[in-house]
Amino acid sequence: MSKTVSELVSELGLEALALTEGERELKGGFTGDLLSYVMAHLRSDEAWITIMTNVNVIAVASLTDAACVIVADGAEVDTEVVQSAVQRGVNLLRSNASAFELCKGLAQIGL
């Protein structure tokens, strides 16, 4: 069953820091914090769950064509990172849940 990023936001109660392309369809998920590891393994149209919040996360999400970034554990995100997400057209979301809980949530909504 496919889900859009906007549906993900409402069903998991995520905070949308930058929702630039809410209609984008999700094809799965990936979690990781080592940026090169993510670049090696994250596939297009996946939700990327991470606790990293520096501006390079936005570049990696854009270049790997991730459907969205979900920042776990309510990690702090600087304004310049949000601005970069808007500029690059990256969906940037946040939750107080842990990466593990977010993965469970993705599974529960059918991803």
């Binding site: 914090d33 080592l34 940026l35 090169s36 590891y37 670049m39 090696a40 297009s44 990293m52 520096n54 501006v55 390079n56 996360v57 570049a59 990696v60 854009s62 270049l63 790997t64 064509d65 310049e80 690059r88």
Partner: protein, 141 residues
């Protein structure tokens, strides 16, 4: 053969914030030229890893991307310390990146392996204390 479409960039060695600017611009240009998302993804990730390497290890450098009839070529050139042991550098997990680089999520020892993974050809010309030149090609046909 027609003249290739070329893009040239200077990679700023001072900060990680602007790293990704060149690959972002390449991504946009390749999209306008009508390449498939998979080709764009491979070229832009390979280029980004190269940019990051030049920022971490070489104090910046130069990049040129050329679009030929049947492949895209990325040439990255720097005047950094060179790579002493290429075989070791190509091993996943091996890294000489400093701690502050690891703290922002880089330095996993996967930069060069990723560049090889996402391109069809990669050659490394390097000389210790002189610099490194990496040429990568992605076939488009």
């Amino acid at each position: 053969m027609s003249e290739p479409y070329r893009m040239n960039f200077t990679v700023d060695g001072e900060n990680f914030t602007s790293a990704g600017d060149a690959s972002g611009r390449v991504k946009k240009a390749l999209r306008q030229l009508g390449f498939s998302p998979e080709i764009i993804r491979r070229v832009s990730i390979a280029m980004y890893e190269g940019e990051i390497n030049m920022v971490i290890h070489a104090g910046g450098g130069r990049a040129e991307v050329s679009v030929f009839d049947d492949y895209i070529e990325i040439v990255l050139e720097d005047d950094g310390p060179g790579i002493a042991d290429i075989e070791l550098a190509m091993q996943e997990g091996f890294s000489t990146a400093p701690e502050q680089v690891r703290a922002i999520g880089f330095g996993a020892g996967m930069g060069l392996p990723n560049m090889k993974r996402y391109t069809d050809e990669m050659t490394i010309d390097t000389e210790v204390m002189k610099g490194t030149r990496i040429t990568m090609r992605v076939k488009t046909v």
